[in-house]
């Protein structure tokens, strides 16, 4: 167990949440995601790197990257020329700004008087323009536990990567808020809790998108003596604490490696040796087909390059990540050789050829000459960093919570004003008019108090996407428990059984619940009626008409006289059974009657009639 206090863990998070607005942030397209199969066209573009974005990579690599930076974009009939980067943006969507201000107010923040939209350079292809539009909207808030909120920004969502260099434009431009906390969390669990709390605040607005990928967390982590590392794209709340634990582990191990390297007097030999000829007869497929194999000697690194620093990750994996920026597939190092078809004999020859001593580790890169040269540079850069500890980096999450290097931490240098968008003034009137919605946690407590729901169900309703339907139903006079059970339990069970309940509209569910409350159908008939409504979804008719039709088909109205006659007949048919079981026959006979009336009559009514008939018979 790590003592995080002692390690000096400081963590903060950035939460990115998509907003559920009618239109995108800087154009009038709807904020809907599409199936890539529905694309209407695709087009190709190049993005040209600017100096500041590629500071770390040498000129040769930059030239190479420039050539391969060709991107393909899928477009749809719900996408316009703005996403195509073929038309200037519209003014900032006021609906999105209002949602952002609402969240800012809920977090106790102070709005910026005049909001300026910026361009943040992003040349990975996820933005057709080569930049992401973003605006700082409010500053300085706090959570109830004291964690400080530094900023909230309103920005446009990037295009979704389909594969490699292909992106889908449906997501590009959906409004997104980015909430950044101060590095005020000191345990992995605290990070998860803060993320969860902010997520709850966001959902309390009722104006945010729900579902996988609509909220993403970036986590900033450092420990004493380590460095600030930003981990991108943690989608699952449950993994946040684990990501933090693993990053602390990684930084701790990197610091231990640094100490050991220093003790050994380790250095990086900057002579790159061409060892292509050594592997002319190799059995390793990768080495055999490579045009060039270059080697770098890391003096005093033996055993440390292969040391695990995080589950599934070694110092060598970090070097490999850096090398991959040059377009190579990876690296080999002597801590893991012989393996991959490289023999012990070849390793010996390699070591002696580059003059490696026992304590040295040799890294080789096999690729085209330019790329291999670029990759060896990168390996040396990363090895030098190991001598000074933990590099500041942006990293991406891998499955299970370990991480890989993405790029250096971005600086303020990549922002410049979006000259095509006017600034927006946020006056006192606008700010004062922003209503603060009830927190979902408060709402759940109110449901317990006012409606008598049990706590679990109340919380489930409050946090559910069906909350608006629930509230509408209760307002229309439906019993809260009936509404809650139908919307959560019944719908979920039916969905699990493969019924397309999501095709039944909110209005239809409301009409159905009202019909049950009015006694036109029994609550037992609800599942059958939902199945019928789902089956006929999209058919013509008002919600009321559709529900009536479903009742007529699945649970036709039965008069009280009819029910009594049915009960009397069934009791008569099973008289021997009834006499033998006495009142114990109530349950089994109930089932028989219910089946006959197919849920047209409330169970309570049948139970009363049946009890009376049995009493008559037995008395």
């Amino acid at each position: 167990m790590m003592d995080y206090q002692k390690l000096g863990l400081k963590a903060g998070i950035e939460i990115h949440q998509q907003l559920d607005t009618a239109e995108k942030l800087f154009c009038r397209c709807p904020t809907v995601l599409r199936d890539t199969a529905d694309r209407t066209d695709e087009f190709h573009r190049y993005l040209r790197a600017t100096e500041s974005e590629l500071g770390e990579i040498d000129r040769a690599a930059r030239e190479e990257m420039r050539l391969v930076r060709k991107f393909c974009y899928y477009t749809y009939d719900t996408v316009c020329l703005v996403e195509h980067d073929e038309e200037p943006p519209t003014p900032m969507n006021p609906e999105a700004l209002d949602v952002c201000l609402t969240i800012a107010k809920m977090l106790g923040m102070t709005p910026i008087k005049q909001v300026h939209t910026m361009r943040k350079l992003v040349i990975d292809g996820s933005n057709t323009s080569g930049f992401q539009r973003t605006a700082l909207v409010a500053l300085s808030g706090a959570l109830p536990d004291g964690c400080r909120i530094e900023t909230i920004c309103l920005e446009e969502e990037a295009a979704q990567r389909v594969e490699n260099e292909t992106f889908s434009l449906d997501r590009l431009g959906i409004p997104l808020v980015e909430i950044t906390t101060a590095p005020d969390m000191h345990t992995p669990e605290a990070v998860g809790e803060v993320a969860e709390y902010i997520g709850m605040v966001l959902r309390s607005t009722g104006r945010v998108k729900r579902g996988l990928g609509t909220i993403r967390q970036d986590v900033n982590i450092s420990i004493a003596g380590g460095a600030r590392v930003e981990i991108k794209g943690v989608q699952e709340l449950a993994l946040i604490a684990e990501v933090v634990r693993r990053e602390v582990e990684r930084q701790t191990n990197l610091l231990a490696i640094r100490d050991e390297l220093r003790e050994r007097g380790a250095t990086v030999d900057h002579t790159v040796v061409d060892v292509t000829a050594l592997f002319a007869e190799t059995k390793s497929a990768i080495l055999k087909k490579a045009k060039a194999i270059l080697a770098v000697r890391l003096c005093g690194f033996a055993g440390l390059v292969g040391r695990e620093i995080q589950p599934g990750r070694r110092l060598g994996s970090e070097m490999s990540d850096y090398a991959k920026k040059c377009g190579v597939g990876g690296i080999f190092h002597t801590d893991e050789l012989p393996a991959y078809g490289v023999t012990a004999d070849e390793v010996d020859r390699l070591r002696s050829f580059v003059g490696a001593e026992e304590n040295d580790c040799v890294v080789i890169v096999a690729a085209g000459r330019d790329r291999a040269g670029c990759a060896t540079e990168q390996v040396m850069i990363r090895a030098e960093m190991a001598l000074s500890g933990v590099p500041e980096e942006t990293r991406k999450m891998l499955e299970e919570g370990s991480t890989a290097y993405m790029r250096p931490l971005p600086g303020a240098a990549r922002m410049y004003p979006e000259t095509d968008v006017f600034s927006v003034a946020i006056g006192a009137d606008r700010w004062n008019a922003i209503a603060v919605p009830e927190l979902l946690t408060d709402r759940a407590a109110r449901f317990v108090r006012e409606f008598g729901l049990d706590e679990a169900l109340a919380r489930q309703v409050a946090f559910s996407e069906r909350l608006p339907t629930f509230e509408a139903a209760v307002a229309a006079g439906v019993r809260p428990t009936l509404a809650a059970r139908t919307l959560l339990a019944t719908c979920r069970e039916l969905a699990r059984d493969g019924v397309a309940v999501d095709r039944v509209t909110e209005e239809e569910i409301l009409a159905l619940l009202s019909a049950v409350e009015a006694g036109r159908a029994a609550k037992e008939a609800i599942p059958d009626l939902l199945i019928e409504l789902a089956r006929t979804a999209g058919s013509p008719g008002t919600p009321g008409e559709r529900v009536d039709a479903a009742i007529a088909k699945m649970a036709p109205a039965v008069s009280m006289a009819d029910v009594e006659a049915i009960v009397r007949r069934i009791v008569a048919e099973r008289e021997a059974f009834a006499r033998e079981k006495g009142m114990g026959a109530l349950g089994p006979l109930m089932g028989v009657v219910m089946q006959e009336v197919r849920g047209s009559v409330d169970g309570k009514v049948i139970s009363e009639i049946l009890r009376r008939e049995l009493n008559d018979l037995l008395s």
Binding site: F43, H44, R45, Y46, L47, R48, A49, T50, S52, L67, K70, L81, H84, D85, E86, E87, P88, M109, T110, I112, K113, Q114, V115, H116, M118, R119, K120, L121, I123, T128, S129, G130, F131, T134, A135, L136, L139, S140, G141, E150, T151, C153, G411, A412, A413, R414, M415, Y416, P417, T419, S423, A425
Partner: protein, 400 residues
């Protein structure tokens, strides 16, 4: 600057004042606007070092091209501190921004104006064509003119009428500003350089052929029109196929059979223009009194409806103007197709009044041509004939 907000103090750099607010770039890169009293000076920013000094050495084995700028920017640089965008005009600046240009040619730079293209004027067309002619006389293999896209087609047509050229004269611009990674400037510039170093022998506009970064189209100067406000492929050849294409990134140039080839023409400059010429877009109900504004004009191009009509009520007034020495040419707002004033009575009456059918000329090309014809041909009858004669590819013999 220090900025205090809700208990937090942030530092940043003061940029400017806008709508009574102080605009500050915070250290995190964001700009915000705030009340001036909320900020206080804590120090002065060190002056920015001049960026990108130094001259790029050019390959002397490659052909010489002239880059003449009029204010359209092929290259620009962003000052990330203030966000200001600085246009770059020197050959070294341009080569630093688009290094691949150095593989095509050597460049000489020359600036004749630094204006937005909506502020272009006929006297600047003349200044431009003289600069182009000088470069041709100095022996360059081709000329690239960087130009704002709004009125590029007018300038290209004007240059075409005033200049006979044995080498390519290529107009190029960009529809997305050069300060963004997605700008079309680099591809358009590279394609224009490939054309300027290639086998063409006339004035052309080279811009994106489609929304893809896959090829540029080469348009004849007198038949090209900006047909979209913002798309990369806004420029279209009207009534004909483009003269050719440049594939990207291979930069291989293909020319159609009718593209004029290098060396076909002897260099010549006829730079007189009659500036007292107008272009009038007719609309239903437009009063004839509008024509009074053109009193004293030597020429007037009408952009008429359909086959080439204006209201019958205009005809007497037009007759008077023509009588008084104004050359009046009819073109069509349809943009596609040929004027024919022999079909309907209105058209026949227009012809009878002395209006000239402008064939299938684009209204803008007809205006520029009229300026040139009236600037060089004093005889009205001969001027009239010239307006109906194809001088620079502006009139197609057949409509296809």
């Amino acid at each position: 600057m220090r900025y205090a907000n809700g208990g937090t103090a942030l530092t940043g750099t003061y940029i400017t004042e806008r709508d009574g607010m102080a605009v500050v770039k915070l250290d995190n890169g964001y700009n915000i606007g705030t009340s001036p009293e909320k900020i206080e000076l804590v120090g002065r920013a060190a002056p920015q070092p001049p960026a990108g000094a130094g001259v790029v050495v050019q390959n002397s084995d490659l052909p010489d091209l002239a880059i003449i700028s009029t204010g359209g920017t092929i290259a620009s640089r962003v000052d990330y501190r203030t966000g200001a965008v600085m246009s770059q005009f020197s050959a070294s600046d341009i080569l630093r921004a688009i290094p691949e240009l150095g593989d095509i040619a050597r460049y000489r730079d020359r600036q004749v104006a630094s204006i937005l293209s909506e502020n272009m004027r006929p006297d600047l067309w003349q200044k431009l064509v003289r600069a182009i002619y000088d470069e041709i006389q100095a022996g360059v293999a081709g000329v690239i003119v960087t130009h704002g896209t709004d009125t590029m087609a007018y300038s290209a047509a004007a240059v075409r009428f005033m200049l006979r050229t044995p080498v390519p004269v290529v107009f190029v611009g960009s529809q997305r500003s050069a300060d963004r990674p997605s700008s079309d400037n680099a591809m358009n510039a590279l394609c224009s350089a490939a054309v300027a170093a290639g086998d063409l022998g006339e004035v052309a506009v080279v811009m994106h052929a489609t929304t893809n970064d896959d090829r540029c189209a080469i348009h004849r100067a007198t038949r090209v029109r900006k047909m979209h406000t913002s798309r990369r492929d806004a420029f279209q050849s009207m009534g004909m196929e483009p003269l050719g294409y440049v594939d990207y990134p291979s930069l291989s140039v293909s020319l159609s059979a009718e593209a004029v080839r290098r060396g076909t023409e002897e260099p010549a400059l006829h730079d007189a223009l009659e500036e007292r010429c107008g272009l009038l877009h007719f609309y239903p109900g437009m009063p004839a009194s509008v024509l009074d504004a053109f009193e004293g004009y030597k020429g007037l191009v009408l952009s008429g409806t359909g086959l080439g009509h204006v209201s019958t009520e205009w005809i007497p007034r037009l007759g008077e103007m023509i009588e008084g020495g104004t050359t009046v040419v009819m073109t069509s707002q349809c943009l596609h197709g040929r004027v024919c004033d022999r079909v309907y009575n209105t058209g026949r009456d227009l012809l009878a009044a002395g209006v000239i059918e402008g064939e299938d000329m684009l209204p803008e090309a007809a205006l520029v041509k009229l300026m040139w014809v009236l600037g060089n041909e004093p005889d009205p009858e001969r001027a009239r004939r010239l307006m109906q004669t194809d001088l620079a590819g502006e009139i197609r013999r057949r409509s296809i």
